[in-house]
Amino acid sequence: MARILMKGNEALGEAAIKAGAKFYFGYPITPQNEVSAYMAERLPEVGGVFLQAESEVSAINMVYGAGGAGARVLITSSSPGISLMQEGISYIAGAEIPAVIVNVMRGGPGLGGIQPGQADYFQATRGGGHGDYFMVVLAPESIQEMVDIMQEAFDIADQYRNPVMILADGMMGQMMEAVDLDNVEKSDRNLPPKTWATTGMAHHQGKNIINSLELDPAKLEKHNLDLKKKYDEMAKNEVKYEMYKCDDADIIAVAYGTTARIVKNTIDMASREGIKMGLIRPISLWPFPQEPFDRTADRAKAYISVEMSMGQMVEDVRLAVNGRKPVHFYGRTGGMIPEPKDILAEIKNILGGVK
């Protein structure tokens, strides 16, 4: 099939269906309502189930049940709705249930606004829920990448029996771009059969229990260590990033998702003015890529994290740079979108200072 024009919210729904997710649970919230509308129409056509839950709290627990029963299951929401899911996400991680969660971020805190934001970075990458757990967090910069990454997200979830989050924003959800839904690369991951799923004892060997409770501290610690092993593996294997014009860059911006596109505009503007600027674009926010920093820390004079937040990913940049070079921050928030010319002004500022 050729490339078609599609809204991000609809494309991600279709991509999930193509990735084999026939179950969707969710609760309306702007700016991701098109996902539910799309799934409500499409899933019955493919023999799946769309269910509008009574709340995000219920929805995430339906995902727990459905994922635990062995299905590929998608849930989407936006910032406040994702906050309501934190207990559920912690349970899903603790009980090792695969699921894909999409956060189409808006401005916060509180009710905030409905325009695009990236201020849920901490929540996504550090675990807004309680306890030690991590999810792979993927941040596509285009609708095509979102579609491609959806397949990947479900595969990662199944491979590690762990939730995976796709962190998008209102812009990504609302915009239309050309997308090719058919040439999505299937991964060659060797996915384990879901022998652990609760499908009824008559349908598998022994008795299956989906659970995150362990009252014996020694056993719970063991469980945490097992999880840690898994997280370490994910951290090793699931790093994804793009380096853009970093080779001889004096200053390297770090940005993800739609902000990265804006930074690419900025880089073009900068190069017209003879400023050597590059971009490290983490695609996996957790695990956060270390390598591109190690490869650039000698040459670059400074880094700048550009976000639609008051400064969250910048901590990961600092951790990755680890004192080798100064790390700066530029952010817009509340639904305001950074503009290339303002970013460039900031960069000139920094380079002035750095020289």
Partner: protein, 183 residues
């Protein structure tokens, strides 16, 4: 080539539709395109706008801060978006609905009595297509034929099929103005 156009007016005037149509037309020509709507409660009755980019290279931010073109169908939109235009940018104004002139002199302002023309054609809902026709003819961002194909592609085999030909006519009407209007 990168055309960055903002289309704005009241909700219901069909600006979202012509924005999508333009993006589709770009796609027909294998260009890179993006369409980004305004969204939120202000849409209701209030103003609505979308940002469309048609580019040979990859599209950066889908949100336009420096527009090559602006199409406006009400006065608040003119006031708001005029300043987004780059020097020499194209500003298409529905002169039936907006009774003032552009205040900038460094842009190319085109006054299209689109609402009036649409009413003459028997359907005021097509004013948007007239505006689009004029804009496309003026800028050459895509071929008119690509717009027509896009219309056929998207509305063909749907409930809107019967609107395809009238809309093509409206686009042509708008396009036809350009020779006349811009001396």
């Amino acid at each position: 080539m990168e055309e960055r156009v903002i289309m704005a007016g009241f909700g219901g005037q069909g600006l979202m539709t012509i924005g999508q149509l333009l993006a589709y037309a770009g796609l027909e020509e294998d260009k890179n395109v993006s369409w980004m709507p305004s969204y939120g409660p202000e849409q209701r009755g209030g103003t609505a706008n979308c940002h469309v980019i048609v580019s040979d290279g990859p599209v950066g931010s889908p949100v336009i801060s420096e527009a090559t073109g602006v199409i406006v169908m009400n006065r608040p939109s003119l006031e708001k978006f005029e300043s987004y235009l780059i020097q020499g940018g194209v500003l298409v104004i529905d002169s039936t609905l907006i009774d003032v002139k552009a205040s900038r002199t460094d842009v190319e302002a085109i006054y299209v009595p689109a609402d009036e023309m649409a009413n003459e054609m028997g359907n005021s809902k097509m004013a948007n297509m007239i505006m689009l026709g004029a804009y496309v003819q003026k800028t050459g961002v895509v071929k008119l034929e690509s717009l027509f194909n896009a219309l056929r592609h998207v509305w063909g085999n749907t409930a809107k099929e019967r609107f395809v030909e009238p809309n093509i006519e409206a686009i042509k009407k708008g396009a036809g103005l350009i020779g006349e209007l811009v001396k």
